[in-house]
């Protein structure tokens, strides 16, 4: 199991600088609390494409987190999907644009992810053979910086994410 906290290229400014997004997508980038971001440079052709769990995760998240604006970062009708055919679970990258200092958003997101995995994959049969790959990007709106939290490991290890302090991610006291 590995948890890495790194700088991230996934910032609102970087997403907005992508030339072919239509006005509706730009609006979604600017105004979503949680944005499901595709892989921006997938494969030889450097394409934008979502992992195959994305559409399910989007519907689940919208049902679970009623007070949040949740969208996918792509022009409607142009969504491409990566099918990896591995038993591993590749969750979409989540760009969370809420000030983490005044919110409990990280624990909420962790809980959402755990509920989703339980709903989809481990209802009764304990399934720790599957590895989960997850990228959470927390965007500090005031300072305009993003930090990325990357998790690769079994489903059971996800509870380790709950111990991570959003303040420490952004290097604040």
């Amino acid at each position: 199991m590995t948890i890495k906290i790194t700088e991230s290229d996934i910032t609102l400014d970087n997403l907005l600088s992508i030339g072919d997004f239509d006005s509706e997508t730009i609006n979604k980038i600017q105004n979503s609390d949680i944005l499901l971001v595709p892989r921006l440079d997938f494969g030889d052709k450097k394409e934008r494409a979502f992992y195959s769990e994305t559409s399910n995760f989007l519907k689940f998240a919208k049902t679970e987190l009623k007070g949040y604006t949740i969208n996918i970062c792509e022009n409607q009708g142009q969504e491409k999907t990566i099918e990896l055919r591995s038993a591993d679970i590749w969750l979409p990258s989540l760009l969370i644009s809420i000030d983490p200092l005044k919110d409990v958003v990280l624990p909420t997101i962790n809980s959402l992810i755990s509920s989703y995995l339980f709903y989809r994959f481990t209802n009764k049969v304990k399934d720790d053979k599957r590895q989960v790959h997850l990228q959470l990007v927390a965007h500090d709106k005031k300072r305009k910086i993003s930090k990325c939290l990357k998790y690769d490991g079994p489903i059971s290890g996800l509870n380790q994410l709950e111990k991570i302090d959003a303040n420490k991610i952004f290097g604040r006291k």
Partner: protein, 247 residues
């Protein structure tokens, strides 16, 4: 959001009197399977599936989604018996490699039943699941082929919209009015590569080996052969003692 689970004993027999035939046909299918009357077992299951279809149609007319989904799960159960029958039929002929796909079919149905049936001990789903998983371990397969590709267009099997469309609220793998929602791949943009993996989503893609059926005792399928020879009939209980060996 919690997953809806189902109870096989809750068919409304007053509303759907023909539903009473479903369980006896399952029992008859099993009886024939254990006697190695595979074709008769399959006929029982096909008859059972027809009743399930009728139950689904009637349930939808009555706006009864629970019974419609229950009919789907009974159909899956019949598919399980068919897959085990076909698996054993091939194993009796020592076609262990071809039987692998049917074993995967059976494991797939069990996985669906495990997810949606409230009590796995109903109709011995737990025991069958253990039985099939143990047989899977007898196979020599460790590495599997898996392809990576980019899908340009998908549709939801329920509403026919793109699964990304805000109007589509169907989660792939969930049940809706007697159908399981799936994302149907309409157009593949490109296949990126084929990989060898130990943990694929679909284990059917394996390397085919040339096997001399007269030398099965020394072939990679020797454990399967030993098991089939000694097990005598399908679904007979057995325990597998796994040991570790240093290479």
């Amino acid at each position: 959001m919690r997953i809806m689970q189902y109870d096989f004993s809750k068919i409304d027999k007053m509303q759907y009197p023909f539903g009473e035939e479903i369980i006896p046909l399952i029992k008859s299918g099993f009886k024939n399977l254990k006697k190695k009357n595979y074709d008769l077992a399959i006929i029982d299951c096909r008859n059972g599936k027809e009743i399930c279809e009728k139950l689904k149609v009637e349930a939808i007319k009555e706006k009864d989604e629970y019974s419609a989904n229950l009919s789907f799960l009974f159909e899956v159960y019949y598919e399980l018996i068919i897959a085990i029958s076909d698996f054993w039929k091939l194993c009796d002929n020592a076609d262990y490699q071809d039987a692998w796909s049917l074993l995967q079919d059976a494991l797939g149905t069990v996985s669906t039943l495990n997810r949606f049936v409230e009590d796995e001990s109903q109709l011995s789903i737990d025991k069958i699941s253990k039985y099939l998983s143990q047989i899977e371990k007898l196979y020599p397969y460790v590495n599997f082929f898996s392809i990576e590709y980019i899908i340009k267009k998908m549709t939801c099997s329920i509403c026919k919209r793109s699964p990304y469309d805000p109007e589509c609220n169907h989660i792939a793998g969930d049940l809706y009015w007697g159908e399981m929602a799936i994302n149907v791949v309409e157009e593949i943009e490109q296949v990126n590569h084929v990989a060898i993996t130990k943990n694929p989503v679909d284990k059917r893609c394996v390397i085919h080996m040339d096997i001399d059926k007269n030398k099965l005792e020394t072939s990679p399928f020797k454990l399967n052969h030993f098991f089939i020879q000694n097990s005598k009939f399908p679904l007979r209980d057995f325990d597998l003692l796994l040991t570790e060996r240093k290479l």
